[in-house]
Symmetry: C2
DNA sequence: CGGCTAATTGACGGGACTCAAAACAAGTGG
DNA sequence: CCACTTGTTTTGAGTCCCGTCAATTAGCCG
């Protein structure tokens, strides 16, 4: 990146530090691009009657596109303490346009987000509660699990409520299905946010993936 | 676009004509970029047990990203007779990378697709059958409706089954909810694929959008 | 007109939601 | 260090919406 571009980007940038639970970025009439410097966030869409859908969880290093409000309103909330840098999308594009390579990276980022969102659409549209939870755990294990001797360990910063809002389920259903997975010996939960996946293959088999049935 | 780039793109391109019902593009181990020259297509994701989720409908002029097979398999099917041009994603990016402007257009395309997919996630995760159908009709009206004296006219190339697979509902539920909207005087269906939306505002009110409740 | 597929309508059952209560984790102050 | 408080998670009972199965009707093309 040239020095000139960097300077201009810094001028357009808005820096925000947020504590857990804060909503540092609220959708307005313009699309925004947000870089997650540290911590983790949820992108939430708001429908009528207070219903919320978590559209994506994003972690340190991710780039998030926050759409302008149209049929639904969007906002970004902190799951952790985190640091964010946001730009108005149009300015951001104008500035990085000349920087060969950068814009390609942004495009790839956006295509990954698109692929993730499509996976979510399958989950929400065609899967049972148990399959949704299993899918979720497998995907989280792929994104940020640490292999230990007995399986894969996960630290999930989001609450059961966030999981429900992400999977299109209620808290109670999330909890019930977790209990069932526990009873099946697929995982144990040493604490609220810590998960130890004992049988990743077993979870994958319950996730309704194409490979499991074929 | 330079002549050199055009020549290279044409070399990488695969042209396909497809009749209604064909699946001219089947997901493989590489991401693909497909341009819809004419006609309309559905992007379908396959889960276990033969369940299908329509991830997006795309029409003439649209650019579609078909992900490689991972947890789920994707394919593109023709709703109409249509003509498609496809590229392996990595080659496509390499070629248009130098062309300033082009790649920005592709990025914007991808962000629109992302926003659409997120809207779909809300619909699938948090809406009732009736809200889903109303949302679908409103969104289709915005994308390709023709205003007439009594309301907005729609020609939908997809079957009830496709609508169901897109909205996470069964054919029967789609049909039942359509009947209810008809009974409420919100629309009439002169033929199978023709819809006349008599009261767009009424449909929007039933779509569960944020504005309706606030 | 006749045959075929798509769409609609009906009856019934099940999975997830709702409401409600109990159990549990995680701080807080004594 | 422990009792207390508070909010989260888990568990339970009942209900409803949508899915399943089945039959009828309507649209479409030869």
């Amino acid at each position: 990146m040239t020095e000139a571009t960097r300077t201009k980007l810094e001028a357009a940038a808005r820096y925000a530090s947020a504590l857990s639970g804060d909503a540092p970025i609220v959708g307005n009439d313009k699309d925004q691009i947000v870089f997650v410097g540290s911590g983790s966030v949820k992108l939430v869409a708001h429908a009528s009657a207070g219903r919320e859908q978590v559209v994506a969880f994003q972690f340190a290093g991710d780039l998030v596109s926050v759409p302008a409000t149209r049929a639904h309103a969007y906002s970004l909330s902190a799951l952790d303490d985190c640091e964010l840098i946001s730009f108005p999308a149009d300015e951001f594009f104008k500035l990085v346009q000349q920087e060969e390579g950068i814009i390609l990276e942004v495009l790839k980022c956006s295509l990954v987000a698109l692929a993730n969102c499509r996976e979510k659409a399958i989950t929400l549209g065609r899967k049972t509660a148990q399959e949704r939870l299993a899918s979720f755990l497998v995907s989280m294990a792929e994104r940020g699990g640490t292999p230990v001797d007995r399986g894969v360990e996960l630290h999930l910063p989001m609450s059961r409520s966030d999981m429900g809002d992400s999977l299109g389920l209620t808290i109670e259903t999330v909890s019930r299905q977790l209990s069932e997975l526990r009873a099946s010996g697929l995982l144990i939960t040493p604490s609220r946010s810590k998960f130890l996946l004992l049988d990743l293959a077993g979870l994958q088999a319950r996730a309704g993936h194409i490979r499991a049935a074929a």
